[in-house]
């Protein structure tokens, strides 16, 4: 006999439900239910996880949602009977979210086709019944006064009544968590949480027998559920692959149009006379694309890209010559041997995957344009933003009423959470962390940690996926409910994995800082009179660029500027395109030991293939798996079908992969046994495949990136001032402005202080000089910056008075300009031989500020006080103020102010480190960047980059030393490091043994 569970809320009933979909389905199945209706509050967020969970728990899904009226809180449960009911529900949910004056009572009857409607509100029941709707009375949770009245009414009118669980948590103990969620959501505490804000203790997912007992008085209300189950047979939408439409033209026409455009593009890429290999490859690709029905997709993407100056195609799409000719991607797949078959393969019915990067500051406009063009046929993919452990602790502690700084002491210092399930409980783990050594976890912390541990992973709200756009032939609300994100764009209710599962093809339009950097650098050097023909620009073939790339001198260059990447470059000593493609891909979080092995082999170390089956497969990369597709290539050799191998590759980058992965592992080991491969070797190969955990690149993607890296490296090599200006102005690089300024100085470029007469808003490079932009001056509003530049264009500022009078900055802005040195030139102008004394400027400023507020502006009476003779300014105080205002120093490196300390402790300069390999040294360094990693045993250690005025030193703090010194690393100012210089294939690092802070000067 069927047992039907209706009205279940998962944690997708945001900040109300506590349990995940998977856990609910498992529990329901354990309790003996045969059908389950998930009805989350106003959404289908969890549809795909729900369908999957039902499949794996072997329980029949009923799709539905609870729709509420935000004005009076009345609600109805809508269950989907058939596929037309599904699109009705999507439209209804979209209306609920998009219409500010949504009125459930009035709107629902319009959207009832194919839906089974239940309500626990007598007024709604009566009204809708009067209107001839087939409506059912929902007796929620238990027989109480409300459900009694509802049932009486239903009986009188001959309406069916049915029992609805209306559950929000799995077990009675979940009630506390439910209250916590409500308290977080309504910004209150447990004791002051209004009873109307949460449900009572009974709303847990109880067993069929319990329900039968609860409702002994109305047995028919239990049995009626099977009537609903018989009606609602719809078990999930099946759209097939949903591709974007192009101008409503037929497939044949689309194929023809794509062909014309591709050949036209080819001629602009390669010249009018096309080589035979280009032509034949183009034709082959066009045939495959046409056969698979993807022509419209390419045309749509081409349409989006066409008006934009600078893009970088990513993903496997870069292997397509058609994409290259349409200027969707920028790496020539013929020249760099990228194989089309890895992108599209007639054997697989996968969505094509073309992601495109745009300059970060142009992207929003492009997305806006796309959304406008396609109207109700387009929306963005969303992210389900979940409570991360850190945020969960923070929010829980707030409900408990702890003050911010106390919460911060714990939450800010949680360096990272180990991935995967942790055996120990969180409190013990936290207590053992060296970073939290001086925190006491006394009451109420244990309770906070325990609750927040259960809270972590609960979705909290939807945000916009950074670039995923879905375009559909029918209005998108027929496929999936849409709502409006905070910033106004329409978003669908599914995140990217669910979107893909549903078959909706998304186009990723992403932002990329470095495209902005390259654009700005080129426009600046063109303004400075240098010529660069971008159509013939092949930066990867430039010898001097290759030398710099091989030496790892690539700070500021896209994707190859991190310390780890630069160290790899130094060890590998290769600066050509092919190697850079390998290196960009092998740098992965989980691949450290393979990177070492790669370098050893690259530098001439002996090696052999992992197994003779793999001979020749990985020869390009010395027998090491580097690219995503290597995983599938190896899997195929061990008996995987193409499809399975590809799935395996895809699963590696997913989050909840462990269960599926276990199946594949078994399959892989079985395949290996069949080929008589030793267990040990199989284990080794599997381990290498597992290093693709997290993110990884395919080769075309890596090549696309390497192209941009080379463009950046070329500009840096030949036009350092212009390039660094663009890097700093575009912000958001791997390093701080401070670090880029130091690098600029090391490149032999002079850094000139900001100057209200010479600076523009952005930084400006010319002739090996870098002028600091106004954007570097703290507290300066963008309005004032624009104002300064506009007034400066009219005529130069001649004195401080003139500046203040014309720009009218507020006090904080003006002070920041004074301390940053941006006004020094005005003093020098009016009194040529006088050394600028900033106290005097501040005095003039204060005087101006004061007179501004006087009622009379008559200059006659505004006789100024005589300028006092202020005591002279110390260099140190001046630099300190400059640092406060700019965040760096133009002429000095702050470390040089500590030179006495360095002499006292016999510290060496960074550039001299090469003389001390294997020896112990002292080094006084300024922290530039740090990265905490976990060792195999789960201990924390840290890689840090320090610098002084002569260069950088990469430092390693092993776990024991890290535990002892981690508290020092949060503070500013230089650290005195003692340790041993180690040489690893020519890259020098300092293994720190001791560190201490240096007294202020």
């Amino acid at each position: 006999m069927s047992k039907i569970l209706l009205g279940v809320h998962s944690h997708y009933s945001l900040m109300r439900g506590t349990a995940g979909v998977q856990a609910i389905c498992r529990q329901a199945s354990t309790l003996g239910y045969t059908h389950i209706a998930l009805t989350d509050r106003n959404n289908l967020y969890g549809l795909w996880p729900f369908l999957n969970a039902c499949k794996s728990e072997k329980i029949r899904p009923i799709i539905g949602a609870e729709i509420t009226d935000q004005k009076n809180g009345i609600r109805a449960f809508c269950l989907v009977k058939n596929s037309s009911g599904y699109s009705t529900l999507c439209q209804l949910l979209s209306t609920r979210h998009l219409d500010k004056n949504f009125n459930l009572k009035a709107v629902l009857p319009e959207y009832s086709r194919g839906l089974c409607i239940m309500t626990d509100n007598s007024a709604l029941l009566e009204l809708w019944h009067d209107q001839g709707l087939e409506v059912i009375a929902a007796l929620a949770c238990k027989p109480d006064k409300k459900s009694f009245q509802l049932r009486e009414l239903a009986k009188k009118r001959g309406i069916m009544s049915v029992v609805v669980a209306d559950s929000y948590f799995l077990r009675p103990a979940g009630h506390k968590l439910h209250q916590l969620l409500r308290a977080i959501d309504t910004n209150t505490t447990f004791s002051r949480l209004a009873p109307s804000e949460c449900v009572s203790r009974d709303h847990w997912l109880t067993a069929p027998a319990d329900f039968a007992k609860r409702f002994t008085i109305w047995p028919e209300a239990i049995n009626n559920a099977s009537h609903i189950a018989r009606q609602c047979t719809f078990d999930g939408p099946d759209f097939g692959l949903v591709l974007p439409p192009y101008k409503n033209i037929s497939t044949l026409e689309a194929n023809q149009e794509l062909k014309e455009k591709a050949f036209q593009g080819a001629r602009s890429r390669y010249g009018d006379k096309l080589e035979q290999k280009v032509v034949s490859r183009l034709e082959h690709e066009l045939k495959v694309i046409g056969d698979m029905g993807f022509s419209t997709y390419f045309l749509v993407v081409h349409d989006i890209v066409r008006p934009v100056s600078r893009t970088c195609g990513r993903g496997s799409g870069a292997a397509s010559l058609v994409a290259y000719c349409l200027r969707i991607t920028n790496v020539c797949p013929v020249k760099h041997k990228l194989y089309f078959a890895r992108f599209l393969n007639p054997g697989r019915q996968d969505a094509p995957d073309i992601d495109i990067d745009f300059a970060w500051d142009e992207r929003d406009a492009i997305i806006k344009m796309v959304l406008e063009k396609y109207g109700e046929h387009a929306a963005m993919v969303c992210n389900h933003v979940c409570l991360k452990p850190r945020m969960a602790i923070r929010e829980t502690a707030k409900v408990f009423g702890l003050p911010d700084d106390e919460i911060g002491r714990v939450s800010k210092r949680l360096p990272w959470f180990r991935s995967g399930p942790d055996k120990n409980n969180l409190l013990d783990t936290l207590k053992k962390m060296p970073e939290l050594r001086d925190v006491d976890f006394d009451k109420p912390w244990p309770e906070i940690i325990q609750l927040s541990e259960r809270l972590a992973g609960t979705p909290r709200y939807l945000s916009v996926h950074p670039g995923g756009v879905v375009i559909t032939p029918e209005p998108i609300a027929n496929y999936v409910p849409i709502e409006r994100a905070k910033k106004g764009v329409p978003i669908i209710q599914w995140e990217k994995d669910a979107t893909e599962e549903a078959g909706l093809v998304k186009i990723d339009l992403l932002g990329n800082r470095s495209l902005g950097v390259i654009r700005d650098a080129i426009s600046q050097l063109q303004a400075n009179g240098h010529l660069l023909d971008e159509n013939k620009w092949e930066p990867e073939d430039d010898k001097s660029t290759q030398i710099e790339v091989a030496a790892g001198n690539t700070m500021g260059c896209f994707y190859i500027e991190s310390p780890a990447m630069r160290l790899l470059q130094k060890k590998a000593r290769q600066g050509d395109f092919e190697h850079l493609v390998i290196h960009s891909s092998i740098i992965r979080p989980a691949a450290n030991e393979f990177i070492r092995e790669y370098v050893r082999r690259l530098r001439g170390g002996a090696w052999q293939a992992l197994h003779q089956e793999l001979d020749g497969v990985l020869d390009d990369t010395f027998g090491i798996m580097v690219y995503q597709e290597d995983v599938s290539r190896v899997a195929v050799k061990f008996g995987f079908s193409d499809v399975d191998a590809d799935r395996l590759r895809k699963i590696m980058s997913k989050k909840d992969k462990w269960k599926k992965l276990a199946d594949y592992k078994e399959q892989f080991f079985a395949g290996a046994r069949a080929k008589k491969v030793e267990q040990e070797t199989t284990e080794k190969i599997w381990q290498m495949m597992m290093s693709f955990d997290g993110y990884s690149f395919c080769k075309p993607h890596s090549a696309s990136y390497a192209k941009v890296s080379f463009q950046a490296a070329f500009l840096k090599t030949h036009y350092p001032a212009e390039f660094m200006a663009a890097v700093i102005s575009n912000q958001g690089g791997f390093y701080s402005t401070f670090a880029y300024v130091s690098e600029t100085k090391r490149l032999g470029v002079r850094v000139l202080a900001p100057d209200v007469n010479k600076s523009s808003i952005a930084w400006h490079g010319k002739d090996r000089c870098l002028r600091v932009g106004l954007m570097a001056v703290k507290h300066l509003s963008s309005q004032t910056m624009t104002n300064i530049v506009a007034r400066q264009q009219e005529k130069p500022f001649v004195s401080l008075q003139d500046f203040l009078g014309r720009v009218k900055p507020d006090e904080e802005e003006a002070r920041s300009l004074v301390h940053g040195g941006a006004l020094d030139s005005l003093i020098a102008q009016s009194k040529p031989r006088q050394v600028s004394n900033r106290a005097q400027m501040l005095y003039q400023l204060a005087n101006w500020q004061k007179r501004k507020h006087l009622p009379y502006k008559n200059e006659l009476f505004a006789n100024q006080a005589v300028m006092p003779d202020f005591p002279p300014e110390s260099l140190l105080a001046r630099l300190r103020n400059e640092y406060r205002s700019l965040g760096f120093l133009c002429t000095h490196h702050p470390i040089s102010l500590f030179h006495k300390e360095r002499e006292r402790s016999h510290g060496i300069a960074a550039k001299d480190i090469t003389h001390y390999v294997g020896k112990q040294i002292s080094f006084l360094g300024w922290l530039i960047t740090a990265k905490i990693v976990g060792t195999k045993s789960g201990e924390a250690m840290e890689f840090l980059t320090f610098e002084d005025e002569t260069g950088q030193v990469e430092c390693t703090l092993f776990p024991k030393i890290y535990r002892r010194h981690c508290h020092l690393l949060h503070r500013r100012g230089p650290l005195l490091l003692k340790g041993i210089v180690e040489d690893d294939f020519g890259a020098l690092t300092l293994t720190v043994e001791r560190a201490r802070a240096v007294q202020r000067v």
Binding site: A846, K850, A865, D869, N881
Partner: protein, 389 residues
């Protein structure tokens, strides 16, 4: 006429009092802080100060900095009493005694007492001797023509000694000193002056009033006078009249639990009610002040047209005031209740005989409670809400 002001300072007053009562505490680091785990340091001895312990620091942190320290719960009432005896000693010499901010600071105006007690420094010596002899404290003292200079002088000699600045010497005395020693300048004032490279009193004294007004705005007049040692402010003996009644409750552990807070408030209401009825007073305005864990404070009042003195009505009014102010989620550390607009007689008899029966009952109940308290002491009978937890 030249004024003679004596500034008397008993350093770390709370610590000094505790050490008087328990000799074994002498010479060892001592921290005064409430016993609950989340409390803040109230005061500490010189030894603890040198280890880095500061007022207002969380106890846990203080303990970590100075593990050897003895921890005692502060007893502000006790220190107040001790201060009263010190004042009594000072009153022998002048009626003009001002209790300055913080414990352990006194200003005496001994202008014109020459005939009676000799020159001001003699008075200083004598007071110090008698305080040392009778009470056991070791005060620092200084004599100067103004409160400001006197205070600077004792800051200069801290932690032991005395300093005398005669009339006319003020500016010479102040000139070489850093600005930071001047009372009345806060951190942001000092930072502002430092922007103009002004660090010493002498440098600042070279600026004209007009110039200073450009730099420091509203504070310039004070600063102009202060760097010249001019401070005309009089000695203000404390007023005697009591116009309000005040009670505090410190929570044992900070809390944001509704019931716990209401229970504490009702305890305060009972104390206040008893106190009012003892004096035959009624109150028209209650102020509830809340102090949160993060030291944020907020006060809200509630007023009544008629004077109240029975527990039930007082409680109702107090709860109104409480919820007017209690909006944050952060835990409360302390709650205090004060009664203002005290009115006598507390009760106006009704012209007609239809007095509210309920009201009469309440008054009888309060009278009974007061009797019990007289006989058996406070807190023998409690309201139900106070028994929860």
């Amino acid at each position: 006429m030249e004024r003679s002001i004596i500034h008397l300072n008993i350093a770390d007053f709370g610590v000094a009092v505790e050490r008087l009562e328990d000799n074994s505490l002498k010479g060892r680091p001592l921290i005064l802080a409430p016993p609950n785990v989340r409390g803040l340091v109230y005061d500490m001895s010189e030894e603890a100060y040198r280890e880095g312990v500061r007022k207002g620091m969380p106890i846990k942190r203080a303990r970590r900095l100075c593990r050897a320290a003895t921890l005692l719960s502060p007893r502000p009432e006790r220190y107040l009493l001790a201060m009263d005896t010190v004042i009594k000693t000072a009153r022998h010499y002048t009626p003009l005694v001002e209790r300055s901010s913080g414990d352990g600071h006194l200003f005496l105006d001994v202008t014109g007492t020459h005939r009676l007690f000799g020159p001001a420094p003699d008075i200083g010596w004598r007071i110090r001797k008698s305080i040392r002899h009778d009470l056991g404290f070791e005060p620092i003292w200084s004599v100067a023509p103004s409160k400001l200079v006197a205070k600077v002088a004792s800051r200069l000699v801290k932690p032991v000694g005395e300093y005398i600045v005669s009339a006319g010497e003020e500016q010479d005395f102040l000139s070489p000193l850093p600005l930071s020693i001047l009372p009345g300048l806060n951190r942001s004032d000092l930072l502002r002056l430092r922007e103009f490279n002004l660090r010493s009193i002498m440098q600042t004294a070279s600026l004209s009033m007009q110039q200073l007004s450009i730099i420091c705005g509203s504070k310039s007049y004070f600063l102009y006078q202060a760097v010249r040692g001019i401070d005309p402010s009089p000695i203000l003996p404390p007023a005697n009249k009591r116009d309000s009644i005040l009670f505090h409750h410190h929570f044992a552990g900070d809390t944001n639990d509704d019931q716990t807070v209401r229970a504490a408030l009702s305890g305060l209401v009972e104390q206040a009610g008893h106190n009012l009825r003892e004096q035959g007073l009624g109150t028209c305005r209650l102020v509830v002040e809340l102090e949160y864990s993060d030291t944020f404070r907020l006060a809200r009042h509630a007023a009544s047209k008629t004077a109240l003195h029975d527990n039930m009505n007082l409680n109702r009014l107090a709860i109104t005031a409480l919820y007017r102010g209690w909006r944050r989620r952060i835990r409360l550390r302390r709650i205090s209740l004060s009664c203002h607009r005290l009115v006598r007689p507390a009760r106006q008899l009704s012209l007609f005989s239809q007095t509210n029966q309920h009201q009469q009952k309440q008054e009888k109940l309060c009278a009974a409670l007061d009797q019990i308290q007289h006989k058996f002491g406070a807190n023998r009978v409690k309201r139900g809400i106070q028994l929860i937890n």
